[in-house]
């Protein structure tokens, strides 16, 4: 049974409206060729004082620490906090720099924010319509298989989608076990983070890279890095799980329900999402001028296809399947509201970084020299701030460092051809290090929360990195540095 119109949440309607707005912008003007606004970016970036990045730091720290110290208050008031930081930045910026500031804000929202949210919405909606049912045994082999599947599909349906589909089967399979925390921890490592390193669909930072001009399959170059981390983790997991499994009192055989995937037709819509994103990376029909911002027509078409895929999933998936997944719009609302604030607040940081040595953050470019530096700074910030803005910050830092003054697409091309190791470093850093803490990547908290409600006692906010993240992941990340980013 499909969701009826009354049950259709407001956010879905908002997405539809967004599509209409995008379409109406589409009609405003066409531009024959892309005209970059780099000179404006540079001038604003060179003018902005360093304290203009305070709202950006403020909103990221709010996201990091309010859930820890005031979770209930944060749960109900995070939109106000996001609006506060965004307004704190937007008002003075617009008053002082007027047209240039408005252009920069529109640029960030039209080119990055709206497509970013539409993709997450589509993946979330489609993945939320798939539910794995049945009795699973919770043996080390089965757990390993589930983790491998999750790690593989994370790059194709997003770490959030893969986590949402697989966490409940994993919890059900291990419900009888006394020692199961490690299963969830490795799930967060692999499915919620590291598995998403291979495509722009896998993890939000990589999709932002894609929106900024990194080709869809370029991220496949992270495969050796990803395998270098994932394979030892899977082996370690199997050893630990086998150790604990031997100490478990095995339950008596109970009635078994055959495993089946409900809502499997959503895989077609998932393929549609993958196809739309892929297609937008290959087709070059020209640009559309939206309020002075040049956006590729292919991106608008992609976003429309994504919206269609999301609505098709809503219309064709039984409500029971979504109920079984405890599917609500709250998570995507959170992302939309918080990232609306983040994308506003990041404007000065990006502008200053793109100004390179002319900007107030020039010291970052001079201090950070090697790919290893970029790997660790992007990774470290991704560990305790969100990984998407961390990636965006250092992506622009690289453009400012190596290609100041060049048009954006030339800078990105240079990055891909001449400084690819740097780009790999920030890509791997932002994805891998997201696993270090609960706040490193959006699905981490979701997996923790679902597991706790299923009766698993998850480690505390600080217990997770100190008991698991640092001892297990950090040595592997160090090895990645030595093997791949030593130059």
């Amino acid at each position: 049974m499909a969701l009826d119109n009354k049950a259709m949440p407001r956010f879905a309607t908002a997405c539809g409206l967004t599509a209409l707005v995008v379409l109406s912008f589409h009609g405003l003007a066409f531009a024959e060729t892309a005209h970059e606004t780099t000179h404006e970016t540079e001038s604003l970036g060179a003018l902005l004082p360093i304290w203009s990045v305070i709202p950006f730091v403020g909103i990221l720290l709010s996201i990091a620490f309010f859930p820890l110290f005031a979770p209930k208050w944060w749960h109900h008031h995070f939109p106000k906090v996001s609006a506060f930081w965004a307004t704190l930045l937007a008002l003075p910026l617009i008053v002082k720099y007027r047209g240039e500031a408005i252009h920069e804000i529109l640029h960030v929202y039209i080119i990055e924010y709206i497509p970013f949210i539409i993709l997450l919405w589509a993946l979330f909606t489609v993945a939320g319509g798939i539910h794995v049912k049945g009795t699973l045994s919770g043996s080390p082999t089965l757990n390993l298989i589930l983790l491998v599947i999750g790690t593989v599909i994370a790059s194709w349906m997003g770490t959030t989608g893969a986590s949402m589909i697989l966490i409940r089967p994993v919890l059900r399979a291990n419900a009888w076990r006394r020692h199961k925390i490690h299963v969830i921890i490795f799930f967060i490592f692999l499915v919620s983070n590291i598995g998403g390193a291979l495509t722009p669909l896998g993890d939000p930072p990589l999709f932002l890279g894609f929106l900024l001009g990194v080709p869809f399959f370029w991220t496949m170059k992270i495969l050796p890095h990803m395998l270098f981390v994932a394979v030892p983790l899977l082996i370690l997991f199997f050893l630990i799980d086998s150790f604990y499994y031997r100490r478990e009192e095995k339950p008596e055989t109970t009635e078994r329900v055959a495993v089946r995937v409900e809502g499997a037709h959503n895989l077609i819509f998932l393929a549609g999402v993958v196809g739309a994103v892929l297609f937008s990376g290959m087709w070059r029909p020209g640009d559309v001028n939206i309020l002075g911002v040049h956006e590729g027509l292919q991106h608008i078409v992609r976003d429309l296809i994504l919206i269609v895929m999301g609505f098709a999933s809503l219309a064709t998936t039984k409500k029971q399947i979504r109920d079984d997944n405890e599917f609500t719009w709250f998570p995507i609302k959170e992302v939309a509201i918080l990232f609306a604030g983040i994308f506003m607040c990041i404007v000065p940081a990006i502008s200053i970084l793109q100004a390179g040595e002319h900007g107030q953050l020039a010291f970052i470019m001079t201090t950070l020299e090697t790919p290893a530096h970029y790997y660790w700074i992007t990774g470290s910030l991704s560990s305790f701030l969100d990984n998407a803005p961390s990636y965006l910050t250092f992506f622009n830092s690289l453009l400012g460092k190596f290609f100041t003054g060049l048009p954006h697409h030339e800078g990105v091309h240079g990055l891909l051809t001449e400084q690819a190791t740097y780009l790999k470093a920030i890509s791997a850093g932002s994805v891998f290090f997201g696993a270090m803490t609960y706040i490193g990547n959006a699905p981490n908290f979701m997996v923790k929360s679902i597991s706790e409600e299923a009766g698993v006692r998850m480690p505390s906010f600080f217990g997770y990195p100190f008991k698991y993240g640092i001892p297990i992941l950090l040595p592997l990340f160090l090895l990645v540095t030595l093997v791949f980013f030593r130059i």
Partner: protein
């Protein structure tokens, strides 16, 4: 009728005293009433001993009915050089615990554990808090909140030997944080 216990603080080799206690128990066929504290999660770090750096003292708990005979046995074993530093009646033994869960089945189990305490134990203090927040139902990414929460902290007191068994039960429970048993003299 409640059993009266004494805390004996004895100066001497811990290993030797442990062997002595085991031998004494075997010889007298004593299964209960004499406890070598280091074998159990019992807090014996009295402030006075910490301040005087007397960490090498050995603590025993001895039921009143065994006390006189045991002290005589200690005193008679002169070659082992034990010295009884203190011998005080225990007025109260207790353990502190706390827990928090977001799962209703786990909550029911915890409620049952503290509702049906073993005979001889009682809750001296118990502050359970159960809250339901329908707004927090479902999953979240950045604003995690649970729609159900059951948490409590409290103190259980009673017979030391039953408290030791109960401590083991609580310590084995995934969701309960339990402190060492406290002895009040």
């Amino acid at each position: 009728m409640a059993v009266t216990y004494y805390e004996l603080v004895i100066k001497g080799s811990g290993r030797l005293l442990k062997g002595f206690v085991r031998g004494y128990q075997a010889a007298k066929s004593i299964k209960r009433g004499l406890i070598y504290c280091n074998d159990y999660p019992i807090n014996t770090h009295h402030l006075k001993e910490i301040l005087t750096l007397r960490g090498d003292n050995v603590h025993l708990i001895c039921a009143a009915r065994l006390r006189s005979a045991f002290l005589k046995a200690v005193e008679s074993a002169k070659d082992l050089e034990f010295e009884v530093l203190s011998d005080q009646q225990i007025t109260r033994t207790s353990l502190d615990f706390e827990f928090c869960t977001f799962n209703q089945d786990v909550a029911s189990e915890l409620k049952r554990i503290f509702r049906t305490l073993p005979v001889g134990l009682k809750l001296a203090q118990y502050e359970p808090k159960e809250s339901v927040d329908p707004d927090a139902k479902g999953v979240e990414f950045y604003a995690p909140a649970h729609d159900y929460r059951f948490e409590a902290k409290g103190t259980v007191e009673g017979d030391i030997e039953k408290l030791i068994s109960f401590h083991a039960k609580l310590a084995a429970h995934e969701f309960v944080e339990v402190e060492d048993i406290l002895i009040h003299v």
